[in-house]
């Protein structure tokens, strides 16, 4: 089984059985349960091979190389499709660091869990608000309750998850946002930096003060990468833009976020606010200013938050973990588990039509406000398509850091490791890193 998969990831010249098994079974089961099969599911079934193969290759070679997509494979997949005898039911446990009601990180994962819970061959259960030191016990309980696979969804769960993998060699584990893997422990993550780049373009389209702000959670590479992408996007359109950053040192604190957002507007005259924090508070603050006649703009984060600021909402980054969980679990249902590093960006997990990704997939852009000038909106769409097709990469040189040092030479693209270890601000960020 393993060999088959490896060969698929290497190219499209071997039989497709496991993938067909996965997707054909899924469609059958879903269509029995629900009267209509959505386009996504249908396409997912017929060209699932493409997506899976592409991603497997992607996971191996990561960011720069676009997956080799061979036209005409669709037909082959459909023809060789076989429906196997149903495999054993799977029980999946999910461990969340926050309450599922945070409307941010854990909420998003739980929405993903609910999405896959519809699969008739899957049972799910979860444990919420598990502090990072206690995750080992939570995993033990889940295994004791019969979990076949456990998803741990906080960076700090990394080492205990790998340890649990050694402790329970016949169970599977998936750790979100980490980098340690083993035979039965995989990692997965939905990456937003491309979307932040698009948000940056939107910001440049509306700013009057040429000052944009960022309410940031913790100074870690992920957040720094997002700030940098946001600023690179803004400065593609307007190189005079500067960005001010305020740190919360908290992933979730609406009160602090509000104080931070107000401070950026009042003290620095920023009129576009991006953020990494798990509540819609920044957007609400922007909306409040809009209500007072002062145009301040903000974004969605994790979920579409338009309702929190209908006037102030420009666009934003949205993740659908459900697609990712479905993808991961389908492998296991087909008894084809393989430890992988899944790192989804624009287009990954989306519909594929003739080798071209037609939808954003697991990570996607929130609705784009028509208050953004039309030419900017067109540019956003253009860049979005280019990133989906992996023609355009935001971190392509020449890129200087804020001290003027050249970090990427002209034409040089950031590698996966460059992005994962980013600890410097690009030119245009005024604030210094803590």
């Amino acid at each position: 089984m393993m060999d088959t998969f490896l060969s698929i990831s290497a190219g499209f010249n071997k039989p497709y059985e496991p993938i067909d098994v996965i997707y054909q079974t899924r469609i059958l089961n879903m269509s029995q349960q629900e009267s209509k099969v959505s386009r996504r599911q249908f396409i997912g079934g017929t060209v699932g091979g493409l997506v899976v193969g592409g991603l497997a290759g992607y996971a191996a070679g990561v960011s720069t190389a676009p997956p080799a997509v061979a036209p005409g494979v669709t037909a082959t997949v459909t023809e060789t499709a076989t429906v196997p005898a149903p495999a054993k039911k799977i029980k999946a446990g999910f461990v969340y660091v926050g309450p599922v009601g945070d409307f941010g990180w854990s909420y998003g994962h739980d929405r993903g869990r609910k999405y896959v819970a519809r699969l008739p061959w899957l049972d799910t259960f979860y444990a919420e608000a598990i502090p990072e030191p206690e995750v080992g016990g939570a995993i033990d309980r889940m295994v004791a309750e019969g979990a076949d696979v456990v998803f741990t969804t906080s960076f700090g769960y990394m080492d205990p998850t790998v340890a649990a993998g050694d402790k329970y060699p016949d169970k599977k584990f998936w750790h979100c946002s980490g980098y340690k893997r083993s035979k039965n422990v995989g990692t997965y993550f939905a990456e937003f930096y491309q979307l932040y780049y698009l948000c940056g373009l939107a910001a440049a389209g509306v700013t009057k003060t040429n000052k944009i702000g960022y309410v940031a959670a913790h100074p870690i590479p992920e957040v720094i990468r997002h700030i940098n992408a946001f600023v690179l996007g803004a400065r593609e359109l307007n190189p005079n833009i500067e960005c001010h950053v305020v740190w919360l040192f908290s992933w979730f604190d609406p009160g602090k976020t509000r104080d931070a957002a107000v401070s950026l507007v009042e003290s620095q005259n920023c009129d576009v606010l991006a953020y990494t924090e798990d509540s819609p508070t920044t957007l609400q603050v922007a909306e409040e200013y809009q209500g007072k006649g002062k145009p301040v703009w903000s974004f969605s984060h994790y979920s579409d938050m338009t309702t929190y600021g209908p006037r102030a909402h420009l666009t934003g980054q949205v993740v659908d973990w459900g697609l990712m969980y479905e993808y991961i679990l389908a492998y296991q249902y087909a008894q084809a588990f393989r430890s992988m590093d899944l790192w989804w960006r624009l287009g990954d997990g989306g519909d594929t039509v003739d080798g071209w990704r037609a939808a954003d997939g697991g990570v996607t852009l929130a609705p784009v406000n028509t208050a953004i000038p039309e030419n900017v909106r067109n540019l956003i769409e253009k860049r979005r398509g280019e990133m989906r097709a992996q023609i355009f990469e935001p971190f392509t040189g020449p890129i200087k850091d804020q001290d003027g040092k050249l970090r990427f030479a002209t034409g040089q693209r950031a590698t996966h490791d460059d992005l994962w270890g980013m600890d410097w601000f690009v030119e245009g960020v005024v604030s210094k890193l803590p």
């Binding site: 309450p99 409307f103 305020v246 609406p254 602090k256 401070s263 003290s267 929190y308 803590p434």
Partner: protein
């Protein structure tokens, strides 16, 4: 929005919670359930506003829920004479958990929020008009309440009764005061104020419902009560000091002061608490003011 206006806004939930807790503690009942009552108040206000569209009704409902929760504490600690610390902690945990559970359908919803309110004439004054006189009604009400509650506590007979029950319940009882009744009233009032503080959060400060949105404010209220030496007017000072520090920590970051060590700026509220408590202790030793003598001691008639 000036730093001053920002300060007063950030300080208001602290003020509302603290003046309520002062009454409970003045009567001799320590209620550590503020965090839970605040969370339930925030949820109730948001839910009521969501379903009825009436902000006034939402505020009322939040106060009632705070009152109901505190009645559990009152029953346990006054009638059943349970350990007040344990009972209060239980209320906090209950309120946080229950609000998270009941609030699930409210996540991601928006509800009518408290409108800002301009004081006629004064709001039209240049510069200070918009800063001081076009805030929300609840903010003005909280300042007024602090003054009125100070007056009641120190200048009227009911206030004297409440204080005497917290200082020496046996003596108060012998003078014909109903210790249990007075303690009940004070604790229930404290609960209602905590609920109101929660309503301020979910209707105005961060107008949404998110699990755990009280974010530790209830615990700061407990500290502020001590900082205020159980005096509603000093609560005003303490709450705005805290609000100011909250506002300032990010303003300083935004203008680049201490930007390379924001951790230090974020410590400010807690450093302020420690410094303030040290100063207060020194002062209370000097002026012999301090904890109500019977605080956290259950009263048993005839012992």
């Amino acid at each position: 929005m000036s730093l001053l206006a920002h300060t007063v806004q950030a300080g208001t939930p602290f003020l509302l919670g603290t003046i309520g807790e002062i009454y409970a503690e003045r009567s001799g009942v320590l209620n550590l359930g503020v965090e839970g009552m605040m969370a339930m108040g925030a949820l109730t206000a948001f839910m009521t506003s969501f379903y009825t569209g009436s902000v006034g009704l939402a505020i009322l409902a939040a106060m009632i829920v705070g009152l109901v929760l505190s009645s559990i504490h009152a029953f346990l600690s006054i009638t059943m004479r349970a350990n007040q610390i344990v009972s209060g902690l239980a209320i906090s945990i209950l309120g946080l958990g229950l609000s998270g559970f009941l609030g699930k359908p409210m996540i991601g919803m928006t509800a009518p929020r408290l409108p800002s309110f301009s004081v006629p004439v004064l709001a039209d004054m240049p510069v200070i008009g918009p800063i001081l006189f076009s805030q929300d009604a609840l903010l003005y009400a909280s300042i007024l309440l602090a003054v009125v509650l100070w007056f009641v506590l120190f200048k009227t007979r009911p206030g004297l009764n409440a204080r005497s029950v917290g200082e020496n319940p046996a003596m108060a009882d012998s003078l014909g005061l109903n210790v249990y009744l007075i303690r009940y009233v004070c604790v229930l009032f404290g609960g209602a104020m905590s609920g109101l503080a929660g309503a301020y959060l979910s209707l105005l400060y961060t107008p949404l419902w998110i699990e755990g949105m009280s974010a530790g404010r209830g615990w700061i209220v407990i500290a502020l009560t001590i900082f205020a030496v159980w005096n509603p007017l000093r609560a005003l000072l303490g709450a705005y000091l805290f609000g100011g520090v909250y506002a300032l920590q990010f303003r300083l970051q935004a203008i680049g002061i201490g930007a390379e060590t924001p951790q230090f700026l974020l410590m400010l509220p807690y450093l302020t608490t420690i410094c303030a408590l040290v100063l207060i202790s020194a002062e209370s030793v000097k002026r012999r003011i301090g904890v109500p003598a019977a605080l956290a001691l259950p009263y048993v008639r005839g012992e």
